[in-house]
């Protein structure tokens, strides 16, 4: 007594209680009262609700105020029975319900009911001295709120202190004695976030405590946890749209922990838990060391890819070779599969392996019987019985921590898989067989009511007898059940339609092509068809990522089945198309793709997400358990992905064999031949000049050490060189007319006077009449002559004053490079204001008038003419449509009729072109751009393919060849690839070969980086 309160003591107290809320005077007063005992002083401050000058709302914890003696008594009663029953008390009593009602009234902001989860005892720790706590006395738990700063805004004003160290400490107090102590951290950690989110609330009372409390004494408390019903509604569905929202290290979910602490054990365990997967990983680790090389291969591919980041050049996409892919996904030995005969409504014979696929697919689709599926707990969910008297069952996802009170049946787990047979094995026909063998309406299995409604407007609903289906899935309630939806690339739309029509008994299945402006947006009309065909483009455009409700059309139907053809289209998981596909509602889901992995393992994730293969649609989990280990070269990732894919993926290749060891498919032989061409001396000159120019640039980059930074410009240099190998004219093509290809727009542009109207005199703008004349001339394609060279325009440009002249002439008339006078009207103009005059030709020169054959064209024509007499059809592939333009000239001149398929054609035009080519005897040649014809198209009518320029990505080249070498091909197939000797083309081949070798040995990042530069150097030697 009487000893001086020192600054030191004040500082200590301050460090505990924080800086605001209490004045220095308060602290000194407390210390004085506590006789300079720091601990006691702190307790005085905290335990005296009115301590300090602030008017703090004592005991204003919303929960505690709801308790009166009656409720307290009830709790006491229960806690006694808890004592006698042991750890768990599952007998709720009436008083709880009353208390519930009270509480929810008071907590008006949170609607919904409070359900008792369970009660448990825990050992609190006293932090005070000399206080008394009777057994059975109510205790109030106070939670620090996470964002609190000022007491007035915190949810628990009494204890709203901001000190970071205290943010996890949950204290308990009584009405009379103030703060008693704290509860164990273990409890605090899982209670805190849930309480702060108003998901749960806690009641507690004392079970036993020492007669007089001392610091650190143990106080046994009994607490009951109530959970708010509102918590579940938000979490019913799997959050599909934000796959990235799960942090990489999947968070510790408080609710499962809490349930564990409460001593609740699931009466039904999830079949699949994160722990299982970890354990499985470990086992795998111990077991296997093989399969290593394939893994590192992919790993290094991945690294290569990352090096090239920033240059989104198509050709840069590193392909995964078939071999590597097979080592990841494994070609399942499927010779053991049973065969299933297709229904006789299928108008064609199936190969035995196709019958196996049909069996496999129907088995996967039907899975367990529907009723069983609806009553079987989803393997990722735990089921808990709540202590509440209403006998509620709580389901908890072991992976995401999501909670639900609705039964998570395996119905939510869509049935389906990945049919990953190699190209040309007839995935389309297998799918059509499936459509015929197993059809129905979406949602027919989830509610009788729904399916009855559906039978009324559908003829072929065969699943209407689901009388005992137990639970209606609220999620699907608002959707109309539909038939099968097939999503495919635009090029294949016609083919799907044609194949379905030709292979199904006419009139059996109703088919609707959901494409184009006039497509129906009505769910009802979509749902009435058995098969709806659409494209990825339409799917994306009908998908809005903001809200599911706003999505109409395809999204308002619950499909019986969704089939994604060329499913690798959705491979990048962040793309709209991938999200759009995953958001479709369907009972059965299928992916058809010959290349389930194109660039990286991540591609598989998108497919699994679409298939709703739990738990892998959770990105965090996928990334942690598969993606990362895999990228780091840990083969457990690979093993895991293999074990995931094995049951849901069927992959056979053309070399797969049946039970007797015979190949499953016998196709005519393929003969691949490389034709080496020599450049003519003139071409050589041109090429060498271009090459020198490019090399100078490249060497600059090397000198500056910026090769990898300038990847895109280097690829551009290479592109020009590669084009030069095809035909020097290609290098002279130009690409900037697009913007003003529309002449009306051009006219308007001039009348407005370009961009900066404000800065110009109105007189400066050319007259309307003149503009109209100019535009009219352009429209008529009148040749006209350049006012400077007085010859026909060559690479004409338009000045802002709407005068037309050759680019070369104009620029030559200027003193400097960037600006000068208009030769006609003497207005000052800038180079960037010039507009390339729109013309039909994309070449700077008139290629017809100046026509010269390049050596490649010559040798192609030679080959084609030789074939013409035999009448066998050929497809000519190039990756540049401009080269197809060039090829048209000699073909027309030699009176060889041909058709052309490229990306500019509309769907109808494409179908027409393909039909022409297939049916007309006199059309022997199809010119095809790679991008238009890469996938799906069946052109078995042709038996020769000419690949004019090598592609970076051999897989694409293969895709193209597969257009003709596939089921239905009866003749032997000749593939001819053209390579010009002594050019970049030849070296590209060498680089490809070198790459294969390089991948075979695992390289470090640094090595890969330098190897990449080496490669480019190789191309420029």
């Amino acid at each position: 007594m009487g000893s001086k309160v020192t600054d030191e003591l004040i500082a200590i107290v301050r460090s505990v209680i924080g800086d605001d809320g209490y004045s220095n005077m308060d602290v000194i007063r407390a210390l004085y009262m506590a006789n300079n005992d720091v601990a006691a002083a702190i307790n005085i401050i905290f335990d005296t609700p009115d301590f300090g000058k602030k008017t703090r709302n004592s005991e204003s914890n919303g929960l505690s105020s709801s308790y009166d003696g009656r409720a307290g008594g009830a709790i006491r009663e229960r806690s006694k029975s808890a004592d006698s029953n042991g750890e768990e008390n599952l007998s709720p009593n009436d008083a709880d319900a009353d208390a519930d009602a009270d509480a929810s009234e008071i907590l008006g902001s949170v609607d919904g009911e409070w359900w008792l989860v369970g009660s448990a005892e825990l050992a609190g720790m006293s932090t005070c001295k000399r206080k008394k706590l009777k057994a059975g006395e109510r205790v109030i738990l106070s939670f620090p709120s996470e964002v609190s700063n000022s007491p007035s805004t915190t949810k628990f004003p009494g204890r709203g202190r901001p000190a970071a160290a205290c943010s996890e400490i949950v204290r308990f107090s009584t009405k009379d004695a103030g703060e008693i102590g704290r509860i164990p951290n273990e409890w605090a950690r899982c209670l805190l976030p849930l309480v702060n989110d108003k998901k749960i609330r806690i009641e507690g009372c004392c079970v036993s405590a020492p007669d007089v409390l001392g610091i650190m004494d143990t106080v046994i408390l009994s607490i009951s946890v109530y959970i708010n019903s509102s918590m579940f509604r938000k979490h019913v569905s799997i959050s599909l749209k934000s796959p990235q929202s799960f942090s990489e290290e999947s968070v510790v979910h408080p609710l499962p922990n809490l349930l564990r602490l409460l001593g609740l054990t699931p009466f039904k365990k999830a079949e699949l838990t994160p722990e299982d997967i970890y354990r499985r990983k470990r086992n795998l680790d111990a077991k296997e060391k093989s399969g290593h090389s394939a893994l590192t291969n992919i790993g290094s591919w991945k690294k290569l890819k990352m090096d090239a980041e920033g240059s989104n050049v198509e050709s840069e996409q590193e392909p995964v070779s078939e071999f590597e892919m097979d080592s990841i996904v494994g070609t399942v030995d499927c010779s053991e599969l049973e065969e299933m005969d297709p229904p006789n409504t299928l108008l064609c014979e199936l190969w035995p392996y196709q019958k196996q696929a049909l069996y496999w697919m129907t088995r996967l689709e039907k899975g367990r019987s529907l009723e069983e599926a609806a009553t079987t707990l989803h393997p990722c969910w735990d089921a808990y019985r709540l202590a509440d008297k209403r006998q509620l069952v709580l389901y908890l996802n072991a992976f995401t921590g999501d909670a639900s009170t609705e039964f998570p049946s395996t119905l939510q787990m869509s049935r389906g898989g990945i049919l990953a047979d190699a190209m040309g094995l007839g995935k389309t026909i297998m799918t059509i067989a499936l459509l015929l063998a197993h059809s129905g309406k979406g949602g027919s299995c989830s509610s009788q009511l729904l399916s009855q409604a559906l039978t009324e407007n559908s003829e072929s609903c065969n699943n209407s007898d689901q009388s005992q289906t137990p639970k209606k899935l609220a999620k699907f309630g608002s959707l109309i059940g539909g038939g099968s939806l097939i999503v495919c690339p635009m090029t294949l739309l016609g083919q799907w339609k044609a194949e379905i029509e030709s292979h199904c008994e006419p009139g059996l299945l109703s088919l609707y092509v959901h494409y184009g402006q006039s497509r129906s947006k009505e769910a009802k009309s979509l749902a009435q068809y058995d098969i709806v065909l659409t494209t990825y483009g339409v799917l994306t455009s009908e998908f809005s990522s903001e809200s599911t409700e706003a999505n109409g059309g395809l999204y308002s139907v619950l499909w019986f089945r969704v089939v994604l053809d060329e499913a690798h289209t959705i491979k990048s998981s962040k793309s709209q198309i991938s999200l759009a596909a995953a958001a479709l509602s369907a009972d059965h889901r299928w992916c058809l793709t010959g290349t389930p992995i194109q660039n990286s393992l991540e591609d598989v994730y998108s497919l699994l997400r679409f298939l709703r293969l739990e738990p892998w649609s959770n990105w965090g989990l996928w990334n942690k358990l598969i993606q990362k280990p895999f990228e780091e070269g840990d083969e457990r990732g690979l093993k895991l992905v293999q074990s995931i894919l094995r049951p849901i993926m069927l992959r056979r290749t053309k070399s797969s064999t049946d039970k007797q060891g015979r190949p499953i498919l016998v196709l005519p032989p393929v003969d691949v031949q490389v034709i080496y061409c020599e450049l003519t001396p003139a071409e050589r000159d041109f090429y060498d000049a271009l090459f020198k120019k490019s090399k100078v640039k490249f060497d600059q980059f090397v000198e500056q050490g910026k090769v990898l930074h300038n990847y895109a410009s280097i690829l551009e240099l290479l592109l020009r060189l590669r084009q030069c190998c095809d035909h020097p004219f290609l290098v002279m093509s130009r690409g900037d007319t697009k913007e003003f290809a529309d002449l009306n727009k051009l006219g308007k542009h001039f009348l407005k006077g370009g961009k900066d109207v404000s800065r110009r005199d109105p007189d400066d703008v050319p007259s309307r009449a003149y503009i109209q004349e100019v535009v009219e001339e352009l429209r008529k394609g009148e040749k006209g002559e350049c006012p400077i060279c007085l010859e026909a325009f060559e690479d004409a440009v338009l000045t802002p004053c709407a005068h037309r002249m050759c680019r070369e002439c104009l620029l030559g008339s200027w003193q400097n490079h960037t600006s000068g006078l208009c030769p006609v009207c003497r207005k000052t103009i800038n180079k960037q204001d010039l507009i390339t005059a729109p013309t039909d030709s994309r070449f700077q020169i008139d290629i017809e008038k100046n026509w010269v054959e390049s050596s490649k064209v010559t040798s192609l024509l030679h080959e084609l003419k030789a074939l013409c007499s035999s009448g066998s059809k050929s497809i000519v592939f190039s990756q540049w449509t401009a080269f197809l333009d060039i090829l048209q000239i000699p073909l027309t001149r030699s009176n060889i009729s041909f058709v052309r398929l490229d990306g500019t054609l509309s769907q109808q035009q494409r179908e027409k072109v393909i039909k022409q080519f297939s049916e007309k005897k006199d059309i022997l040649i199809m010119l095809m751009s790679l991008k238009a014809g890469g996938v799906g198209i069946n052109l078995t009518v042709a038996s020769n393919a000419f690949i004019l320029d090598p592609w970076w990505n051999p897989a694409v080249e293969e895709q193209a060849v597969m257009r003709i070498h596939r089921i239905g091909q009866t003749k032997s197939v000749n593939i001819k690839r053209f390579i010009v000797k002594g050019t970049v083309e030849e070296r590209m081949e060498a680089v490809q070969a070198r790459k294969q070798r390089m991948i075979a040995g695992a390289l470090t990042d640094q090595e890969v980086r330098s190897a990449r530069i080496e490669e480019l150097k190789m191309l420029f030697t």
Partner: protein, 120 residues
């Protein structure tokens, strides 16, 4: 084919009416990026043409434009004959004469035309 002999008729209602004037026209290598060189071979009494036949015309100097053609150049020269400009002279004496006594100067021009440009 860079060197041309050109004949221009004196424009009507000008002192040069009835005259036939010979000129030489040379296209330099840079043509059309540079102006052609034009010179009167026939003697002519004109304030913008000196006794060597050189012509003072802006488009033949700094106002040259590649869009101008030989035809336009010659038309411009013809126009210059119709509208002599003594304020921007090449031949000072003639210009002075023109300014001091236009009627007398026009008479001299007519005389010269008759003597030197009579088409013979």
């Amino acid at each position: 084919m860079r060197y041309f002999n050109v004949m221009i008729l004196g424009p009507t209602q000008s002192p040069y009416e009835g005259g036939v004037f010979k000129l030489e026209l040379f296209l330099p290598e840079e043509y059309p990026m540079a102006a052609p060189k034009v010179r009167f071979l026939t003697k002519i009494y004109h304030p913008n043409i000196d006794k060597l036949g050189r012509i003072c015309l802006d488009i033949l100097k700094d106002k040259w434009s590649p869009a101008l053609q030989i035809r336009t150049v010659l038309l411009s020269i013809q126009a210059l004959l119709s509208a002599p400009n003594p304020d921007d002279p090449l031949s000072d004496n003639i210009a002075k004469h023109w300014k001091a006594n236009e009627a007398e100067a026009v008479e001299t021009a007519k005389e010269w035309t008759r003597v030197y440009a009579s088409g013979a």
